[in-house]
Each structure stands twice: as structure tokens, then as C-alpha cells.
């Protein structure tokens, strides 16, 4: 057996091939233009590239190709450049499925059809025609999964599939050299492909064939050009990711003559964009926990790259802003470690990301917040947080897993991915979710999108079936939100307005707007939440209070958690859970494309004069708390007593109009 093996190895070496590799001739024969472009773009002043370029110019092309391939086969890149997003738990299952052209995209298995020449249809949108599917497919997150499967099992099918997919993509999707919105060359997908897949695969040992390596290198060059010259021009999280992709190419491939210019350009743009796209309190201007995370992951990678490239980077303003972004990300975290579902968000495990980010910034308080105080050092001072630019107040009693957590959103509408959620409230009591946000579910227009992004998917008020006016898309200064944290309670309040619909000619209505103040008071001792909705109207209107409960709370027990209090109001109460026929609703979405039935509780009544509606949100384990108004109904200053089993447990005096204010709160 041994002589036969030796002969085989000698034959392969004689062919100029290492095992598992192919000769360079096919690429030179079939795709000479790719090599011409590649060699023309190499930096002749780079010490390793100079002799290779000389060979190429002197016509010794086979030698030049071999030398270039050998150089990059041996070269390695730093961990900051080759890191990929966290791989899923079912790597082998996904890798096996990929061999059958089946991919796990956006929480569902998608079979991608083949083209007549045996490649993948890279424009495939899945059975529901969702363009997000085509975008995800072109990010090629499957490549690191296949690579991991190859490393684990040693099965060459996985390595061959990586090479096959890369060759297929590169050869079937020529670079358009202009701004392009196809799924293959949309700037965001170009950047994500580079950041999350291609650079890691390129520098992986014993993974690529020579043909694939050279094709990939030439395509990476085109990706750099696309990100430099044909990227998004409208800002947002796309722009940050695209510039980071450009920076990664520049740092991973200094052998390109354009790389130095790309690096300077990307560094300058990224620093400016991080400052421009976030508020001073650290919130990202889209005001969604999901997109906060998307930008934070780019920021974290930026920090890692910059810390290596420029040691003075830690003194830059952008470094402090990125730290503030993480601090905000920690501050809004729920007792179970997930982030809020505000605007277009999925359930993101903020705690896991914080547990890996705290060391970069030497912030053991983030670790303590993420672990409920089991590790790290808990922050001193109150646990509640107020973010004036985001207009969000997070009322809580501690950082433990059994904490109460109330998220009051009185901030701007957001620059993108907005929901109609003015003065929405989410809540956890005793560490259990009670009131939830709807989540993003999907981006496809239609009734489902309308529900998840509309007011019906939020705990808010509707006047004559219409939501309140949303805040501005961007805040030029913090919006007026009253916030007070005392020894007895935490208080937050803000005012919105219900405008009347425009006339049929498009002219503004003459009908009066209706100011609406929502005040949220969390009692630290009794661990209950008092919510006051104050409306000033002199005409008759229908008011609908919409409350969305977490799916874990059964429909028949939602009334135990939340009940109206105060002046007797003739409420009509309807509960809707998991309704799939119009008017559909009663769902929340933890992940893209997933939805869980959740009870939507509607309290409807009519008002025709200034009124104050009161609500008590409490854990049903304790005796119910009642609200007694001492002031006239609808008075601008509300004097209130909270009663439990006939006993006064708290007295409050709050101004609700024109500017909300906590005047007094005490436990007798």
C-alpha cells in the first residue's frame, strides 16, 4: 500500500499540486480578465508584491500566479479580521443541508433552486417572496458554517462545497461597477459578505483551492471598489456596516495599492458616522434594540481593529461614544437578560453580548448587570435609568433576575424601522414578563406588517381609532420627559397629542387636538405600577386603551395583572388572542418570521371632557390595589390614594397638565 501512496503523492507533486488543490491553468485560460485586474491592482511598492508584479509584467504569468497563491496561502490575518458572527448550535445539520441546497435563513429552512448550469439561484426570495431571504442568502453566512463542519469532521464534501459556492457566486455575478440594489451587489450585502464570511474563509488554512483563492481575491478587490465608490449615500446603520467592510478589506489586504486610501477614508467616515448616528446618551437613532446591537457589533469590531491600528484611539470622542452605546445597551436590559422589543427588534440576549464586551472597556458593572450581580461589580446608585435623548425611562428596583422592570418610551419616532408606539409601556414584574412590545416579525408590507408596526401591537391609547402623533424622527434636543427617582418611587411622564384627521381636501383640520399625558409611577416598596392617562378634550371622543400582554400570560388571567382604577368609567372590555382574521392581532414576535399568540386587551369608553384614567399594574400574588381620587375627575393636579384591602398604602399628588410633575408621594 505504501509504494502506491508514495507514487500518488509524487504524481501530484509532479503536477505542481498539493493534495486537494487544482492547477492554476483553468483560471488563466477561462478568466484571464480576472487575473489582469488583480495583478494591475497589486501594490508594486509592497515588499512581497514587488517580485510577483515584476514576473507578471515580464510575461512569466504562471510563476506570478503560483507565487501570489503561495503568498496568500501562507499568510494569516489577525483574529479581529477573521472573526465571524457566533455560529449556530446545529452547524453539522446546516452544513449537511447546504449540500442539498437547503439553508436555514430567517428562522426557516429554504430550498434554493438550481440554475440550468448547476449553480444557485442567488436571487431566490423563498416561498413567500421575501427579499430579505435573497439578501441573507447573498451574505453567505453558510460558508463559515461549512468551514466549521469541515474542521469538525474532516469531510471534504464541506470544503468542496465552500469552493463550489464561492466560484459559482463570483462567476455568475460579475461586478456591475455602479450603485446596485440587486441582492448580490446591494452595498449592505457586499459589506456583510466580506465581514461575516469571505475574509474568514479566505484566511482559513487548507480550505480554498488555488482557483477559488485567486477568484476570491479578485472579487474582494471589486468588493472594496464597490464599498468605496458605490456605497449607500443616505446614512443609517447600512453606511456604518459598509464602511467597516471597506476598512476590513483595507486592513486584511494591504497588498492592494488602493488599500491605504480605503483605510484612511473608512476610518474617518466611521468615526464621523458613529457620532452622527447616535445620541449623546448612547442610544442609536433608530431606537431599536436590534439595530442598536447591529451597530454595536460593528462598533466593537471597529474598536478591535482601531486599537491595533492606532493605540491612541482610546482617547478619541468616538471611543467614548461607543462606550456610551454599550452602557445604554446594558441599562435597558430586562431582568431575563434580553433587550426590549422596541421598534423593529427581535429578542436579543443583551447579557451575552455585554459579558463579552465589558473587558474591552474595563466595565465590570456591565458584567454585574448582565449576571444579576453574580460576577463583576454592581453599579452604585439607583438601578433605574433615564435616557433623555432616547426619551426612554427604565424603572426598576434592582439588577437581579426577579426584578421589576418598566420600559416607558416617550422618545422620538426613530430614523428608521419605526413603530407607532408613542408613550408605549412594556413591563416585567417579579422577573416575569407582563406587558410586551410587538417585535418586528417581518418587513413585507401587508396587514401583518401593519399590525406589528402599528398602535394595535403596543400598549398605548387610541382616540377615535387613531394613534397619537408620533414624535419627531430625530431629536435636535431632548424631548420634554419628566423623570424623578425618589426613595419611595420612580416617576416618568410625558405629553403627546392626538391630531384630528385632515379634511378631504388635505387641509389641516380645524377640530381641536387632544393633549394626552401619560404618567408612570413605580412604587418601590409595594412593587406596583400606577399609570395615569390624562386627556384634555371638550368634544366627544372614543378612547381605546390597548394593552399587549406577553404570550406567557393566559387570556383569562390578564385582568389579574392590570385593572382600571379611579373614577367609575363605563368600560367595554374585549380580549383578542392570536386572531388571524381581520381585525387581526393579538401576537408578539420574538424573532423574524415567528409570531406567538399574545392577549391584546382593549378597554373602550367615550369621553367628552378632560379626564384622568388610572391603571394599576401589579403581580397577582398580592391583594389588589385600588385607586381613590381625592381631586375632581380630570383636574390638572391629581390627588390620589392607593388602597389595599381598605388600608391606605400610598398618597400621591401629581401635576398632569400642562407640564407633568411629581409633587408628592409618600407611604403613610
Amino acid at each position: 500500500m505504501k509504494p502506491v501512496l508514495a507514487l500518488l503523492v509524487a504524481f501530484l507533486i509532479g503536477c505542481g499540486c498539493a493534495p486537494g488543490q487544482e492547477a492554476a491553468r483553468p483560471i488563466m485560460v477561462d478568466h484571464p480578465e480576472q487575473l489582469e485586474n488583480l495583478f494591475a491592482a497589486l501594490d508594486q511598492d509592497h515588499p512581497a508584491m514587488a517580485p510577483i508584479c515584476r514576473d507578471w509584467e515580464l510575461g512569466r504569468r504562471q510563476e506570478a500566479v503560483e507565487a501570489l497563491d503561495a503568498y496568500f496561502r501562507k499568510k494569516s490575518a489577525g483574529a479581529a479580521l477573521t472573526q465571524t458572527p457566533r455560529l449556530p448550535g446545529n452547524v453539522l445539520e446546516q452544513a449537511e443541508a447546504a449540500l442539498q441546497r437547503r439553508y436555514y435563513i430567517l428562522d426557516q429552512w429554504i430550498e434554493v433552486p438550481a440554475t440550468p448550469d448547476g449553480g444557485l439561484d442567488w436571487t431566490w426570495r423563498g416561498p413567500q417572496g421575501d427579499k430579505e431571504v435573497a439578501w441573507m442568502l447573498n451574505r453567505q453566512a453558510i460558508l463559515p458554517i461549512l468551514l466549521q463542519a469541515y474542521r469538525k469532521t474532516g469531510r471534504t464534501e464541506f470544503r468542496q462545497e465552500i469552493n463550489r459556492l464561492l466560484r459559482d457566486w463570483i462567476l455568475s455575478n460579475p461586478y456591475p461597477a455602479r450603485l446596485n440594489f440587486s441582492p448580490q451587489w446591494r452595498p449592505l450585502e457586499v459589506a456583510r459578505r466580506v465581514l461575516e464570511s469571505w475574509i474568514a474563509v479566505f484566511y482559513a488554512r487548507d480550505c480554498l483551492d488555488q482557483d477559488t483563492r485567486l477568484l476570491l481575491l479578485s472579487s474582494l478587490l471589486e468588493h472594496g471598489d464597490a464599498l468605496r465608490n458605490h456605497a449607500s449615500f443616505w446614512g443609517g446603520n447600512h453606511l456604518i456596516t459598509e464602511k467597516l467592510g471597506l476598512l476590513a478589506i483595507a486592513l486584511a489586504f494591504p497588498e492592494f495599492s488602493d488599500s491605504a486610501g480605503w483605510k484612511d477614508y473608512a476610518m474617518e467616515k466611521l468615526s464621523a458616522e458613529f457620532l452622527a448616528q447616535t445620541y449623546p446618551d448612547g442610544s442609536y437613532k433608530e431606537l431599536s434594540n436590534h439595530y442598536q446591537l447591529v451597530v454595536l457589533l460593528s462598533a466593537q469590531r471597529f474598536v478591535r481593529l482601531m486599537t491595533v491600528a492606532n493605540p491612541a484611539f482610546r482617547k478619541e470622542p468616538v471611543y467614548r461614544r461607543i462606550e456610551a452605546m454599550w452602557d445604554y445597551f446594558a441599562g435597558v436590559m430586562k431582568p431575563d437578560g434580553f433587550g426590549p422589543l422596541n421598534n423593529d427588534s427581535d429578542l436579543e440576549p443583551n447579557d451575552r453580548y455585554l459579558a463579552s464586551a465589558w473587558e474591552t472597556f474595563s466595565r465590570p458593572d456591565w458584567l454585574a448587570m448582565a449576571t444579576g450581580g453574580e460576577e463583576g461589580t454592581l453599579p452604585s446608585g439607583p438601578a433605574s435609568r433615564f435616557y433623555p435623548w432616547a426619551g426612554q425611562a427604565v424603572l426598576r428596583n434592582n439588577w437581579g433576575a426577579q426584578a421589576d422592570w418598566i420600559f416607558f418610551d416617550a422618545g422620538p419616532y426613530g430614523t428608521a424601522h419605526q413603530h407607532d408606539d408613542r408613550l408605549h409601556l412594556s413591563a416585567y414584574l417579579q422577573g416575569r414578563p407582563v406587558l410586551t412590545d410587538s417585535g418586528r416579525h417581518a418587513y413585507q408590507p401587508g396587514p401583518w406588517r401593519d399590525y406589528f408596526s402599528g398602535p394595535s401591537g403596543h400598549s398605548t391609547l387610541l382616540l377615535d381609532g387613531r394613534p397619537a402623533d408620533q414624535g419627531p424622527r430625530v431629536a435636535r434636543q431632548p424631548l420634554p420627559v419628566e423623570y424623578a427617582d425618589t426613595s419611595k418611587c420612580v416617576f416618568a411622564a410625558a405629553t403627546a397629542s392626538f391630531s384630528q384627521p385632515a379634511s378631504r381636501f388635505g387641509l389641516p383640520s380645524l377640530r381641536p387636538s387632544v393633549p394626552w399625558t401619560r404618567a408612570v409611577l413605580y412604587d418601590k416598596r409595594y412593587r406596583l405600577v400606577l399609570i395615569l392617562d390624562h386627556l384634555v378634550s371638550f368634544q366627544a371622543h372614543e378612547i381605546q386603551a390597548n394593552w399587549l400582554f406577553h404570550p406567557d400570560i393566559p387570556e383569562n388571567s390578564v385582568g389579574n395583572y392590570l385593572h382600571p382604577g379611579g373614577p367609575s368609567t363605563d368600560w367595554q372590555v374585549v380580549a383578542l388572542t392570536g386572531r388571524t382574521e381581520p381585525p387581526l392581532g393579538g401576537f408578539m414576535s420574538p424573532e423574524y418570521n415567528l409570531k406567538r399568540p399574545a392577549t391584546r386587551l382593549l378597554h373602550t369608553t367615550r369621553v367628552d371632557r378632560p379626564v384622568t384614567l388610572a391603571w394599576i399594574l401589579q403581580d397577582p400574588a398580592g391583594p389588589p390595589v385600588e385607586v381613590e381620587f381625592l381631586s375632581p375627575a380630570g383636574a390638572p393636579i391629581a390627588r390620589i390614594r392607593l388602597l389595599q384591602e381598605g388600608r391606605i398604602i400610598a398618597e400621591a399628588e401629581l401635576r398632569l397638565h400642562p407640564q407633568p410633575e411629581l409633587i408628592r408621594y409618600r407611604h403613610p
Binding site: L510, F538, Q539, P610, P658
Partner: protein, 88 residues
């Protein structure tokens, strides 16, 4: 008389007056009906909101209509002046 300028001026004047009367009626009726609808619910605690929302909006429309009514002659003459030289 009966030059092109006169015709244009007359049409413009009539148009402005018509718009002004529309605005006057809208503002006046809006103010009247909203006041009638709301006055008995008036609460002195909310005087500012009541005036700003119930009275001021239609009042602004009424004032705009009144200004347009008063200025319609002047505006029509100014806008028709360019037709003076070409008149026959």
C-alpha cells in the same frame, strides 16, 4: 374699459373674493359650532388649551379670510398689471 387687463383683473378679483368668503365662512362656522359643542364642558383649569384648540384655529382661518377679502382688490390689480401694455 373691457381691455384684457380689465378682464384678468375682474376674474382674479372674483376668485380672491370667492376664496375669502369660503375661508370666512369656514372659520366663522367652525368657531361657532366648536364653541357651541364645547362651551358647557369648559373648565377654567384648561383655559389656554380651550382657547388655543377650540377658538384659535378657526379664528386664524377667519382672519386669513378677512385679510384676503380686504386685499383682494389690491392683489388683483397688482397681478393684472402685466397685461396692461398688451391690451388693445
Amino acid at each position: 374699459m373691457n381691455t384684457k387687463k380689465d378682464w384678468v383683473e375682474g376674474i382674479l378679483f372674483a376668485g380672491f373674493r370667492l376664496m375669502a368668503v369660503g375661508l370666512l365662512l369656514t372659520g366663522l362656522l367652525g368657531m361657532a359650532f366648536q364653541f357651541l359643542e364645547s362651551w358647557y364642558r369648559f373648565d377654567p383649569n384648561y383655559l389656554g388649551t380651550f382657547l388655543a384648540e377650540t377658538i384659535l384655529r378657526p379664528l386664524m382661518v377667519f382672519i386669513t379670510g378677512a385679510l384676503l377679502y380686504a386685499g383682494s382688490g389690491w392683489m388683483a390689480r397688482r397681478m393684472a398689471v402685466r397685461y396692461h401694455k398688451h391690451s388693445s
